[in-house]
């Protein structure tokens, strides 16, 4: 009997790597990719391979590349924007090539649900001229991972797996197989490992030839599947294939469908077969028209006149993620079926529940519901840090530049403590740029501990070197919180165990020449206030490290309570902090279940009505 396990897509990719005999794994966390590597880290000892959380994606890719140069099978994982950080090694690694299989898992986030943009890694793969797999399910993601290692060694090229959120964070019953043999290791010295202009030209030619070799291999790939049925066809890539199949079932329709699992380079055999047997084709894929544009080029090159629809003629949206409802509406419109209006109305939240009373005129409208945007957790130490810096510098209209992490949620009201957010590490550099042109204003940058090591450090050195007048606040919550509490160089912990070394952020700041460095506990508002005042008053670069563990990784041992006799109902705690544990109770304030007793509210209460209880 085959063994099946309930696996998340990311876990399935990790399992695929283990079955493929992976020898090295490296990553930097980022939603929706993080669990690929966390799973690999968990099994590193059992299956005897090397695994590291790297400081950033560029480093992770280079570590994996080094191992692959030496013949090892290596996997590296990141989210789509992480690939931008790794772009420098990637673009030339495609020229140099690899010996052992190198698989790059880059998770895309159409929506986006948890990202700063919706860039499409399939486009990036095309730019780098590297093959890419686009899985539709966890099972397929696992199978593709194994196939990607084989393809990588066949072509001597790094190969992409590009899952999206709806594969990464989908669980499925996945078949578990035995693990494979390991590659033998040994780096063989050869001038072809040293990129040089004259070599680059030759390698570029080779890389272009590998495109056609990859296309030929993909022509025989089991991940592409053509069902020829009617003179109208649909081509669907990745998870969009699932939505197409279900929408066709719902509409009780049968049409020709070409499922694409390898969007770049697009295999031409089945595409041409479909185009020659149909009058018109609709391409359905999320984000950019990667498959569609290649289909158009193939049709033109082969003199085929079939109509090709998709994003270029606005049938399929280019932004956001698809789902069955959207795809059904697209099909209704494309095939000219009746009844699309009713389903479009279902998308609008203000409408009555469509499934419940679709045909009833007397259905009450959905009432106005409370807004519920994500916010910092109850007791999050970042809240205290933002509160103190607002109190210290906001009255002078200081600019708060932000960064990527949980603390980006500092932008939400009532804190409203973030004026810019761009990408990893940009808080400090954006502040430096503003400070260069706004001499009379204070510029305060906020970034997390993991982000500091990722790309923040270069910006800090740059600020010191160029005599920037900024304050950098490192929100040091002793973990990489947003992505699931991964370790980083500031902790005595690596991906696979304990570490004797850790890198002290205050020590680093002093060593690079920052003259004012303070490290305080943000829960101690008085100490935090004193540090903030000194840092903001300092001319030049100052660094304040707000050090306190993320509440999600510590046990709650106390709670706060409100003495209703003393509470005057001024609501300062609720209005200034926006802590979700503080809730209105008539005219006064009550403290809910999620309180962890940080007592920041207790310290700002003007009448001392909030006290602590040890649990």
């Amino acid at each position: 009997m085959t063994r099946k396990m309930l696996l998340m897509g990311n876990e399935a990719i990790a399992r695929g790597a283990v079955e493929a005999g992976v020898q090295v794994a490296a990553a930097y966390p980022g939603t929706p990719s993080s669990e690929v590597f966390s799973t690999l880290a968990r099994f590193a000892e059992e299956y005897d391979y090397y695994a590291e959380w790297s400081v950033n994606e560029k480093v992770a890719l280079e570590v994996a590349a080094g191992a692959a140069y030496a013949g090892a099978r290596a996997i590296v994982s990141m989210k789509q924007v992480g690939l931008n950080v790794a772009a420098d090694p990637l673009m030339t690694l495609a020229y140099i090539g690899v010996k052992g299989g190198l698989v790059l898992v880059v998770a895309d986030d159409p929506g986006p649900h948890s990202s700063q943009n919706e860039q499409d890694t399939r486009v990036f793969a095309g730019l780098a001229k590297l093959p890419v797999f686009d899985p539709a399910s966890p099972q397929e993601a696992k199978d593709m991972t194994i196939a990607a290692f084989e393809l990588s060694e066949r072509l001597n090229l790094p190969v992409f797996i590009r899952p999206t959120t709806r594969t990464c964070h989908v669980c499925q019953d996945v078949v578990i197989n035995e693990t494979g043999l390991r590659n033998s290791i040994g780096f063989k010295k050869d001038p072809s490992w040293v990129i040089f202009p004259s070599l680059a030209y030759k390698k570029h030619k080779w890389l272009n030839e590998q495109q056609e070799a990859a296309r030929e291999i993909f022509n025989e790939s089991p991940f592409n599947k053509l069902e020829l049925k009617t003179r109208a066809g649909i081509i669907a890539s990745g998870v969009a294939y699932n939505y197409v199949k279900e929408a066709l079932d719902m509409l009780d329709m049968e049409v020709s469908v070409l499922k694409i699992g390898t969007p770049y380079p697009l295999p031409d055999k089945q595409v041409l077969q479909l185009l020659k047997n149909t009058d018109r084709v609709l391409v359905i894929e999320e984000l950019e028209p990667v498959v569609e544009d290649q289909v158009i080029a193939m049709a033109w090159k082969n003199g085929i006149a079939a109509g090709i629809s998709g994003k270029n003629d606005t049938f399929v949206p280019r932004e956001g993620e698809l789902n069955v409802d959207k795809v059904r509406d697209i099909l209704v419109r494309y095939f000219g079926l009746a009844g699309s209006e009713a389903s479009q109305a279902a998308d609008d939240e203000s409408q009555a529940a469509p499934g419940v009373n679709r045909n009833s005129d007397s259905t009450p409208e959905k009432p106005v519901l409370p807004e519920r945007a994500p916010i910092l957790c109850a007791g999050c130490p970042h809240r205290a840090s933002f509160y103190i810096f607002k109190e210290t510098a906001r009255k002078d209209d200081a600019v708060f530049t932000g960064d990527i992490g949980c603390y980006t949620l500092g932008v939400m009201p009532p804190l409203s403590a973030m004026d810019t957010c761009l990408c990893m590490g940009a808080s400090v550099t954006i502040a430096s740029g503003m400070a260069a042109v706004e001499k009379d204003r204070k510029h305060i940058a906020f970034l997390g501990d993991s982000t500091f090591f990722h790309t923040g450090l270069a910006g800090l050195i740059n600020a010191v070197y160029n005599n920037s007048d900024i304050t950098l606040v490192v929100l040091d919550n002793r973990t990489t919180a947003m992505t699931g509490h991964q370790p980083h160089p500031g902790l005595n912990r690596t991906a696979t165990g304990m570490n004797e070394k850790h890198i002290d952020i205050a020590g680093v700041a002093r060593a690079v020449g920052v003259e004012l460095v303070r490290e305080v506990d943000p829960y101690d508002l008085e100490a935090a206030r004193e540090a903030a005042i000194a840092a903001v008053a300092h001319k030049g670069v100052s660094v304040v490290i707000m050090k306190r563990e993320c509440i999600a990784i510590v046990k709650t041992v106390k709670k706060c309570t409100v003495d209703t006799e003393k509470c005057i109902g001024c609501k300062k705690c609720m209005n200034d902090l926006g802590c979700p544990a503080l809730v209105p109770d008539g005219d006064k304030v009550a403290i809910g279940n999620t309180c962890n007793g940080c007592n920041v509210c207790g310290q700002i209460c003007p009448v001392g009505a909030i006290g602590e209880v040890v649990l």
Partner: protein, 195 residues
Amino acid sequence: MRMDIVIAGVGGQGTVLASRVIAQAALDAGLAVRTSETIGMAQREGTVTSHVRIGEPLYGALIPDGSADVLLGFEMAETARWLHKLKPGGTVLANSARIIPVSVASGRSKYEADTIMEYLRSTTDSLTMLDATELAIKAGNYRATNTVLLGAMSTLPCLPFKSKGLLSALLETIPAKLRDINSRAFELGRQAVEV
């Protein structure tokens, strides 16, 4: 046998654990399964949903509008927010407890509980509400709210697996030290809706 279940709640309430447990119970019963969960930024006190799809034919993990057999609501307003996922005649099982968002506490938004309750009552054929948070506190920890609701759900006759199967999937998923509280919470959930 096909069954689609949508779980709606607030980030931090344990909707992900609940969907995993249901999926594991289905897998243990030999059924194909898919779940899709909200992981990432929205987990921080935002609105979250988990989708669980059981039985062939199975394509994507996202449940289309108007087609869930069961809506398991972890919070009252969130149940109303995702009611459009329910199919005509579908079953709603929901927590009557409310989580007041910061937007309401700081006066930028309103939580009109009576209107929401009335809307839930008047638009559904099969609605069962219970104070799952209160029952979880009775079992030993408010965090077991998700387990109380799983216990309540285990009484539904339409489930493709046995109540015992759901409980054992739950107990195998959570750490050993939490088994007592969760067993109690599951049972309290069952008792609350059993007629």
